[in-house]
Symmetry: C2
Subunit: 208 residues, 2 copies
């Protein structure tokens, strides 16, 4: 009870269940998650799995949270080792694209956004919070790039974040339907154009 060292052996299986649930949710979405099939996956009984979460909705929330943590660990954290400003922003995009490559079969966060955007409830709120949080991180990185003089001083951070996010949605969409490689090429071409149109000043034309 004093929680001396690490008695929680059951927490490990909970994590193990979440691993399988995450993989299932990538393909079928959070709405497609079923405790029965999940129990078969991990080799447990339905009630055994159920006991770890208390309800299906809590399971879905746990999977969503796990997905968000994985995303941050895989995309944001590595990018933080790049210097502030445009390099870090580009690193974020690069890592994000890698995330997309590893999640061609479906991304839980994006699927969830589509599943709960029109509804209301705990899932909806969690999705909105997660998306707003990530958008905030994007805008922060953009603001730093503006402050460092890597982007035009009049840059609308929210606007640029929207456009970046839209391109990543395009990547995911096209990758799922027409193949990742083609989509990836289009994405990079679009970003090249995007960075150019937000760069601080035209250096090439008409030197006075």
């Amino acid at each position: 009870m004093t929680a001396t060292t690490a008695p929680a052996k059951g927490l490990a299986t909970r994590e193990h269940i979440l691993d399988h649930a995450y993989e299932r949710a990538r393909v079928g979405g959070l709405e497609g998650l079923s405790i029965g099939t999940l129990a078969t996956d991990v080799g447990m009984s339905k009630s055994g799995v159920f006991a770890h979460f208390g309800s299906r909705e809590d399971l879905q929330l746990a999977v969503l949270d796990a997905a968000a943590r994985r995303f941050m660990t895989r995309v944001l954290v590595p990018a933080l080792s790049a210097p502030r400003g445009l390099p870090r922003l580009r690193a974020i995009v690069t890592q994000w694209c890698e995330w997309g490559r590893e999640h061609q079969s479906g991304c839980v966060l994006l699927t969830a956004a589509g599943e709960y955007d029109g509804r209301e409830g705990a899932l909806h709120d969690a999705v909105v919070a997660q998306q707003a949080g990530w958008r905030g991180e994007l805008e922060k990185a953009i603001a730093q790039a503006v402050a460092a003089g890597h982007l035009r001083a009049d840059t609308d951070a929210a606007q640029l974040a929207f456009e970046i996010y839209a391109l990543m949605l395009g990547l995911h969409h096209d990758a799922g339907l027409f193949g990742f490689e083609q989509a990836s090429r289009r994405l990079h071409a679009a970003f090249e154009r995007l960075w150019r149109s937000w760069q601080p000043q035209r250096t090439d034309p008409c030197p006075p």
Copy 2:
């Protein structure tokens, strides 16, 4: 049997069922469609509804097809009255945006793309065909704008179509999560920048 005039009274109810199914699918997706709840909606028995389609998958295919027809009627057809080239392309975007406003609670085509992009089967194939078809229409309109000299001669139609589509995905995403008006403003700002960066020649800088 010779199909003289129009004996099919049952076709009308089939269309009536599809209307309700379409509305349901907007919120819950094609995967969330259930024959039981649909039957309650239209005030019929489950088996009565079922008989019109023969299987749930055929119902889903019918709804997908109905959605595609509505989209074309609502977006492409009105835009065809605009003159070829950039005006028509911009009309497409405008109508598409209106479509987005009317489908904030969810668009069947986009939801279906997310639901079946990783799987395989008749639904997947139908979604891919629908998406590829629409992308083709976009590229055709772009090619006409290039031919008319409204866009740069070296324009990659597929690339521009990708970027347009990505922005519309951004609109749908943000509209569902953060509200349509804000998303719409961001979309228009993005398009303004987009058209400018693809316009045929720089008219303003450094006249020789």
